[in-house]
Symmetry: C2
Subunit: 357 residues, 2 copies
């Protein structure tokens, strides 16, 4: 059976001040009226019923996740005692899912991405799920790149092996982690490299086999957790073992190291909304190219991203600026420096202003 | 006896979003911990007792003024039914003060200026008061100009007639209303022109005489109000007459038109804090020349004015920008466009966002 595992462990400092420790990006309604996690769950309707939707999240946000997704069985919200990156997260989800369904196929989904055509998305997910149920291996969904992005991993398309419901399945020829600018430009030119969207499909037991092969320490820890799963010792063992698991990503720790990999090129609109300027592409813009959300008034300004998350934002004569206002904190940064928000959040922490973090 | 009349009728849209209709500039603590009006009242301690301090204000702020200055007798807070500029305001104050003290000398004080040396200020005020008590006429206090400011009126120094407690009293040779930039530069060079600080001294009855001479319609209205003052009809007559009085300033309507005028050059630090960039001169600045107030964190920014009136303000890589944050509204404007805040406030009004005005 196809299960969906929503990875909702991110801290999302890049969306400060809208995001906070207790309210990370996936819990925010950055576009439209619904939080990204709620949209991610709703996007599965018709493909995966709530009983087979799982969320892996942190202790600090588990209560908010349960409140946001009341249709999920309580046991389907899995709490990581600490963040250990996506390989451990996927491994833990595999333990929980296998306990319920030894034949489970997992679609792995980031909680905080935007996808523009849910029907097409479900069709691709279903095709990928069928493929790995039959052929095994780990399958990634690849996005056609539109710019030489250095923030993503790239999937190299190998031979096209088959089609399923119109979706081509390729062998994964290689996996390239975040390249530098020159390399990214070359990958874009080469034409056979796709962005890794962080959306995967695999049989839960195949993931465990790959983990055992590439990350034996992680597998050893997962075996201890699996042995205690569903017993009175579950929480205690998880608390003890999980925080010491190796912290690496599925991409880098497993897929880059080879093995049986597949890529399905997908064509639905997709954004990881990785920063405030990226979000701007998803917001309505005025004649001056100002992307706005909330109550915003701008005079003689162009190319700005202006977000009033509560307060009114009023600006005159500014350009290519990000302004985000919440009732207790305000960010002002030129678009080109938006990646430095994390640095700013650290500076606020150093000053002890934890009430706004 | 010396009375002090604090003119507190301003609306102060230039300090939006800190200032609002119901909380104009004079009620704000823009510098230090106390509202400007409170500082203005306290500055009189030792010279004018609360019983002889009067405040002229608007219906919308009268309650806040009474709460802020509980030491004033209730009758000393005079409410203008409508704003009719400073000539009517001063005339109304003269009516009220004369009703109590026919020999009253009034020191007229804007409620929302900053003065750096209260003792020196009181000394100048006392000297000016003594002079007009003896000689009559209208006396203005002049500030030595430091830049070719086009926003102020200029007082031309005539012959020095006397000294009182070290203060020189000059005849007022002429009065120049807000000049254009070329004229302002010429006035600065000429050396004998001082800024009109909007601080005056006169006998209340001498003001009424000058009003009668230059603004007979205003005097006619004041006579109707005076006749009803202290009677059961006071409020009704004020409500009927005042809103239709001619609206002109003391400077333009009376002083510019000649008559017996005096100037006392003063040397105490003074600012009318007319805009956010002007306020910056009064705030502490960091190594990058960023003037800040409240909780502010700035990385690689220079020359900014950053005011967190409640919220934390965090900025990266911005320069010469004004950012003012309140819990429900945020302003972002380059210093050079700060005079356009009024225009912005009008735009917000046009959108019907009255909750933040």
């Amino acid at each position: 059976m196809l299960h969906a595992v929503i990875m909702a462990g991110g801290s999302g400092t890049r969306f400060w001040p809208a995001s906070r420790r207790s309210r990370p990006k996936q819990l925010l309604a950055l576009v439209g009226d619904l939080p990204l996690l709620r949209m991610t769950r709703d996007r599965l309707d018709g493909l995966v019923p709530p009983e087979r939707v799982w969320v892996v999240t942190t202790a600090g946000t588990a209560a908010a996740v349960r409140e946001l997704l009341p249709e999920l069985p309580a046991g389907n919200v899995i709490v990581e005692p600490a963040g250990r990156n996506t390989a451990a997260c996927a491994g833990l989800a595999a333990v929980a899912v296998l306990d319920r369904d030894p034949e489970a196929v997992c679609a792995m989904l980031p909680a905080d991405h935007l996808i523009g055509d849910p029907e097409r998305f479900r069709s691709a997910l279903a095709a990928g799920g069928r493929w790995v149920a039959r052929e095994g291996g780990l399958l990634a969904f690849g996005i056609r790149p539109t710019r030489p992005e250095t923030g993503y991993g790239y999937l190299e398309l190998g031979a096209a092996t088959a089609r399923d419901d119109g979706w081509a399945v390729h062998e994964l020829a290689s996996f390239v982690e975040k390249p530098d600018a020159a390399r990214a430009a070359a990958l874009l030119d080469a034409g056979r490299f796709l962005w890794n969207a962080g959306i995967f499909a695999w049989r839960a037991r195949d993931l465990r086999l790959e983990i055992a092969r590439h990350l034996p320490d992680l597998e050893a820890g997962l075996q201890r957790i699996a042995a205690a799963w569903g017993t009175a010792a579950q929480s205690a063992v998880l608390e003890e073992v999980y925080p010491r698991l190796p912290a690496t990503s599925v991409d880098y720790g497993i897929m880059e190291r080879g093995g049986r990999g597949w890529v399905v090129p997908v064509d639905f609109p997709w954004s990881d909304i990785g920063s405030w300027p990226t979000l701007a592409d998803e917001l309505p813009a005025d004649d001056g190219g100002n992307a706005t959300r909330g109550r915003v008034q701008v005079l003689d300004g162009t190319g700005n991203v202006l977000v009033g998350a509560g307060p009114v934002v009023a600006a005159i004569g500014v350009h290519d600026l990000v302004v985000v206002a919440t009732p207790d904190a305000v960010l002002v940064v030129p678009k080109e420096h938006a990646q430095r928000v994390k640095e700013l959040v650290e500076a606020l922490g150093a000053r002890g202003w934890d009430d706004v973090l």
